[in-house]
Structures are given as C-alpha cells and as structure tokens.
C-alpha cells in the first residue's frame, strides 16, 4: 500500500450497537484522522442497516450501503471493522484485499480458520493491522515496564482477572456444571456474549504480550454462574484458562523457564465491584510479586450524596453491552474511586495504531497476534468440553 497524506481517511464498517460507538470517537479524537463514512455488507439484515444509518446520522457521516463501493474510494486508508463476530473475518479479509489498513474489534474472528485468513490477507496486501486491546492502557504499560525492568526478578507466573461488573445476576440455575460445546459457532446474541472470549480476549492478549511467549498448552473451564440469559442461550458467563508457554523465540531478557499463567474472565453483575469490574494482573517472580490494577493508584471519595444505583434494564440490551443503550437508560458512572492519571499518558488504542501506520512498523497487537489469541480462546473451549489439557497449535 502506498504511503498517504494525512489526515488518514477512516471508514467505519458496521455502526450502532457495536464497539464502533467507541472506536469511531477514538479515531475522531486523533487530529491525524478524518472519518469518511459508515458502511457494511450490502446484504445485512434490515435492523442492522437501520442501526448503521442511525449511527451515520449521529456522526454526521454518509452511509454507504455496499462495502465494496466504500472500499473503492481512494480517500479511505483505514477501516475500523466492528461487524458482528460471525462475519467479522470475512469483512476484514475484504478490506485488507482492498489495500486498507485494518483496525479490528476483539476477538478478531470466531474461528482459527477465519483468523488465519485475515492474517494471510494482511500479509499479502502489506497493510498494517491492530486488534483492540488493553496493552496501551497506562496500567498495562506499567506492567510491561515492571517485567522488563526485572522488578519481580525472573517471571515465573502471571495471573490476570478481567471481568465486567454489569448486568443483573442471580438468575442462572445454581449448582450445575456447564456442558461446553467444543466448537461453538454462534457468538452474537442480544442478551449475552460468550464471556470467555469477550473478556478473556483482553487477558490472553495481555499475558502473551507481557511474557513475549507463545502459549503451548491450554486448560479451560466455562460456567454459568450469574445470568439466566446466558444459560438460556447456552453461552458461558464465566471462564477460566490456565496455560503454559513455549520459551520466547528471541530472549529480550532472562529465560523464563516453566512460566505458567491463569485467566479469570466474565460478567459478574453491576453491584459486584466499586467500579467497572476486577481488571488486574499479578506478576509472580523469583524476587517478589506485583499486583497491577487498572484502578490503582486511586483516591476514594465518600460524600453526602445519593449512592450509585444500577440503571434500569434496557430491553434491547439487558447486559449493557453498548454505550448508546447505556445512555438511553441514563446509566451513571460509579464515582467512588477516582484513578490517578498522568495527563501526558495516552490510552487511545486507535492513536497507537495510527502511530504504527505513520512509522511503518507492526503493531504489538497485530492481526497475527489477534489470531494467536483466537487460537488460545478456541482451545479453551475444546479443553472445557473435554476436561483436559489441549496442546497448540490446534489442528487445521
């Protein structure tokens, strides 16, 4: 792909009721970017087309109802791909084949085959790619610096908790072990997400990035602890992963040896955490242990004001997945914890992608990394179904 002049034109593939609501704002906030249009595949269902049009109107952008037409425009440099999970891989491949840089919602695809196809398309087209993650957030950067500085000595274990405190729990049938499908194919529901994937993706990506190692074995458990909606759809609301690593291919620091890692991920209910949910990583080393938490350092505020109340249930988004639906039911932020932030720190993931494009370097969470994360997550489902440890790579 030829190097273009700024501002970079950003095309938004799929609109309202996806994470595009957030990514579009992130690109719009970067002065190096200009939003071009909202688009989607020509044959999307009417309700999806209507949401796309509504989003285009909200953003004061045109809606181009055929992705092929939008990709033919030469003022489009980057496509932010937030299409539903089941068709995300197909859309991403088409965008890469058109020579556009790819900014990808997480998880990148629903299957290892789709992930491989995206990586192949990106490499063939020579475009840049990045899957949304938390690695550019200040707390993740702190964790990386700590590992690289040897703050805990040689790393022997990493544990990551990544959960969202949303939804109204206590309705799932109690006392049952979940029977997991080893190869789930449906991922998009109005009222539930496969939470091992949806939240575990952050943790797996973070741990892989922190250690610089490839996962070699995966043990997974999925569960239905909280929500009747998830149980009804045969979708887990909670998941665990435990994995081991290959040694790093090129040692940037001391050999890590038999490093191990675990992940706890899920959706645990509005009132189960003083903020957005447990988001932290434990770095266990030969010389010490560090817990790095997205809500640390912080101040805590207690005041003579009404306590935080969970929002009313939005009938079209009962789990509060999307910013727009949260706004529609007037969801208020939890204000008791106020995290200390350096105003010079940037946690705009989209801007880091633009940095990569400008400096012609690979993102630290490229499509290739996204594919590796997808493989770990899918191995987690196979493990949860079989009850045993699964070795990677998965059969192709």
């Amino acid at each position: 792909m030829s190097k273009r002049q700024k501002p970079y034109g950003v095309l938004l593939a799929t609109g309202l009721r996806t994470h595009q609501e957030n990514y579009a704002l992130a690109f719009a906030a970067d002065p190096r970017c200009r939003l071009i249009a909202v688009t989607d595949e020509a044959d999307v269902p009417p309700h999806r087309a209507a949401w796309n049009r509504k989003f285009a109107d909200k953003m004061n952008l045109p809606y181009i109802p055929d992705l092929d037409d939008a990709l033919a425009r030469d003022d489009v440099d980057i496509v932010s791909v937030c299409s539903e999970h089941e068709r995300r891989g197909r859309v991403a491949v088409k965008c890469a084949q058109a020579g556009k840089h790819l900014y990808l919602d997480k998880p990148m695809t629903c299957s290892v085959a789709d992930a491989d196809a995206v990586v192949a398309a990106v490499e063939k087209a020579g475009v840049r790619s990045q899957m949304f993650s938390f690695i550019y957030s200040p707390w993740a950067q702190s964790a990386k610096k700590a590992v690289e500085a040897g703050a805990v000595g040689e790393l022997v274990a990493v544990h990551c908790d990544m959960m969202f405190a949303k939804g109204n729990p206590g309705t799932a049938p109690p006392g049952k072990q979940r029977k997991q499908d080893p190869h789930p194919t449906r991922f998009t529901f109005v009222d539930s997400k496969r939470e091992l994937r949806a939240t575990g993706v952050y943790a797996v990506g973070l741990i892989r990035w922190l250690t610089g190692c490839e996962v070699s074995t995966v043990f997974g458990v999925t569960a239905n602890y909280f929500f009747a909606e998830h149980a009804k759809n045969d979708v887990e609301d909670f998941g665990l992963l435990a994995f081991t690593f290959d040694n790093p291919p090129q040692p940037p620091r001391k050999r890590v040896g038999n490093i191990t890692a675990t992940v706890a991920s899920g959706r645990i209910g509005w009132m189960s955490h003083p903020q957005g949910g447990p988001n932290c990583v434990y770095l266990i080393g030969t010389e010490g242990t560090l817990k790095i938490d997205t809500y640390q350092p912080r101040i805590e505020v207690y005041a003579d004001e009404p306590p935080w109340m969970k929002p009313p249930i939005h009938l079209e988004d009962p789990m509060s997945f999307w910013s727009s639906t949260q706004d529609e039911v007037n969801t208020q932020p939890k204000r008791g914890w106020v995290v200390l932030r350096d105003e010079g720190e940037s946690s705009n993931d989209a801007s880091h992608f633009v940095d990569c494009i400008e400096s012609e370097r690979e993102s630290e969470m490229s499509a290739k990394d996204g594919a590796a994360v997808v493989e770990v997550l899918m191995a987690g489902y196979v493990s949860a179904a079989k009850g045993d440890v699964i070795s990677l790579p998965l059969p192709r």
Partner: protein
C-alpha cells in the same frame, strides 16, 4: 488466615453475596519452597469450605523448582477456584489477595497480613479444617503429568 477464613465465612453465611461460585486467591504465605504444597493444601481446604463444595478435578502448574504452585479446581456442583501460592518474599510479610464471587456479589481482600493475622503452616487443624488427601494426591499427579487429575471420592474433608 484463620481470621480471614472466619470473616469471609461469616459474610457468606449472611447470604449477602448469594451462593459462592468462584475463589481466586494469590497468596505468598509459604515459609520456603519446601512448604509450598502444605500452603496450597491449606488454602484449598479453606476455599472448599467457603464454596461448600467437593472438588472433582484439578489442574496444577509450577512446583518447588518454580517457586510457586497454581491449582485450577473444578467442583462437583460447578464452582471453580484458582489458587496460587508462593513463598513469603524479602520483607517477610505474608500476603493474601482474595476475590470470592457469589452469584449476587463479591468479596475482595487485598493486603499484607499482619503477623498476628498470619497462620503458621501446618496449624490449620487448630481451627477445625481438614486437609483433603485425595485432592492433594490429585495435585501431585497433575504436577507430574502436566494433565488434569480427577479427585478420587470427590470429598473435601476426609
């Protein structure tokens, strides 16, 4: 640990967080690498009592050489636990980080344990908690094979 155990138990017994479903515990409480397994056994015993559940399967990682042991436990009625134990580090202060999820709430504990709150390894029986030999046998088997191990009998207390 005995104070933490009893305090958490009292909150669970009150029903405030609903039915306990998941325990995450990262603890630096073993005096040295030789006592890692003892420390793990004690935390797992406590976790089982908090969850009121019998363990069915365990996957363990690490070991004496690694300086830490991590166990993923799946219980008969669906609950789970992730327990990681290591040695007390240079400052000599034991540390226990705990997250216990109920189906309607959560308990968090995140701090150094003052010496008066810490419990020397091997003293758990003083507060009426028994170590599960079958669970710890399964932990050993999992560490040796690199695979998950079924807990024979599926009982927490023997």
């Amino acid at each position: 640990m005995q104070f933490l155990y009893k305090t958490v138990k009292s909150v669970l017994d009150s029903g405030r967080i609903g039915s306990p479903v998941f325990v995450r515990c990262v603890a630096q409480i073993a005096s040295d690498r030789e006592h890692l397994t003892d420390a793990l056994a004690e935390v797992l015993a406590i976790a089982g009592l908090w969850l009121s559940a019998s363990p069915q399967k365990v996957y363990a990682q690490g070991g004496k050489d690694a300086g830490q042991i991590t166990a993923t436990v799946h219980y008969l009625s669906g609950q789970t636990a992730l327990v990681s134990v290591g040695t007390v580090k240079a400052n000599g202060m034991p540390r226990v980080d705990l997250m216990l999820l109920g189906n309607k709430g959560a308990i968090y504990h995140d701090s150094l344990l003052l010496p008066s709150f810490a419990m020397p390894a091997g003293t758990i029986s003083r507060i009426g908690i028994s170590i599960s030999k079958s669970l710890m046998d399964a932990v050993e088997r999992s560490l040796q094979t690199g695979k998950s191990a079924i807990i024979e009998g599926g009982k927490t207390n023997e």
